[in-house]
Amino acid sequence: MSERGTYLYAVARDEVPACPAGVADSAVRTVATAGLVAYVSSVPMEQFGAEPLRRSLEDMDWLAGTARAHHRVVDAVAAVTPTAPVRLVTVYDGDEQIRDLLERRADDFLAVLSQVTGRREWGVKAYADPAAGPADDGAHDEHGKPGACAQKPGTAYLRRRRASLRGREQARRQALARADHIHAALAGVAAASHRHRPQDPRLSGRPDWMLLNGAYLVDEGRDEEFAALAGALGGDGVELALTGPWAPYSFTVVEMR
């Protein structure tokens, strides 16, 4: 029998009736003490030891599968009861250490859980199309002044180039100001909000500029109001994407020992 560790997914106050499989297809179980319930599973250390992880975390497929499995468990628990998600790949020697953590840090966990009780996290991303705006200037010049272009193509190029750059810079400033406005409006409806760094296009899967990557902790009774507001704030070249509800990942960022 290979060596096992105890992988921790999340901490809540209640047991949930059913939970999907965890990382490496392991069965998820609970460790309960001090009024808290930890969701854990036993994982093989030949996969989840520090050394093998250094290699396997470089493997995007492995990382994606593991991240999804972790999220699946967190999400299932959070759908039923207030939940504090724990960061990916937090592995203990055994259940006894987890019991110890819950007892030592019970107050901290309870404080975090009470902050997210009755609330859900929503994500709002705002995108602007980088091609919008400046392309028009160039096209207009080219076709609007055919004589000038034919005689002095270099000059026409410079002129278009200048107009294009100025247009882009202006569009960028406007878009960023717009993102500030959108965030402030959404934060006004939320109990808490957090503006994350915009995602790289490789992560977002979209070539557009991500102007806003916001997380909002919204009272359950105000979900519809929040979504309606998000709907009203889009338009004029800015697309908004609403995701969620999420487990409150963005509002349980605390470090414990």
């Binding site: 560790g5 999220h71 960061r87 180039r161 100025r166 790289d200 995701t243 414990m256």
Partner: protein, 121 residues
């Protein structure tokens, strides 16, 4: 992936896991959350991500876009030979050409346009 429309978000609640037709959440959004948010437990435990530096470096590259325009990928000036490196000769040439263009088109460059051009440069 998020589905978006201009003018408003598409609300696609993930709902409880058992819900029929539920699409998996966007991988980028999941990675960002499970790697960078939630409770961090440090100290005397077997393994945690804080120990795994290689991962952080690599994932920061993937996840960590930043607030400024440059890091949003709006770095066109860096690759533009007409603007990069403070190439004053080219800029001056550009200004001269713009004046000539304006003259050829039959209208003088206004003082305001010249000023704006200078400020941009």
């Amino acid at each position: 992936m998020d589905r978006t429309t201009t003018g408003g978000p598409v609300v696609r609640p993930y709902g409880p896991p058992a819900a029929a037709g539920r699409e998996p959440a966007n991988l980028g959004d999941i990675l960002e959350r499970v790697l960078d948010r939630g409770v961090v437990i440090a100290g005397d435990i077997r393994v945690n991500l804080l120990d795994i530096e290689l991962l952080t470096i690599k994932l920061r590259l993937l996840i960590a876009s930043v607030d400024t325009a440059r890091e949003l990928g709006i770095d066109w000036w860096k690759h533009d030979p007409w603007l990069s490196g403070g190439d004053r000769e080219l800029i001056a040439e550009n200004r001269r050409l713009r004046r000539r263009l304006a003259a050829a088109e039959g209208h003088p460059v206004s003082a305001r346009e010249v000023t704006e051009g200078a400020r941009d440069e």
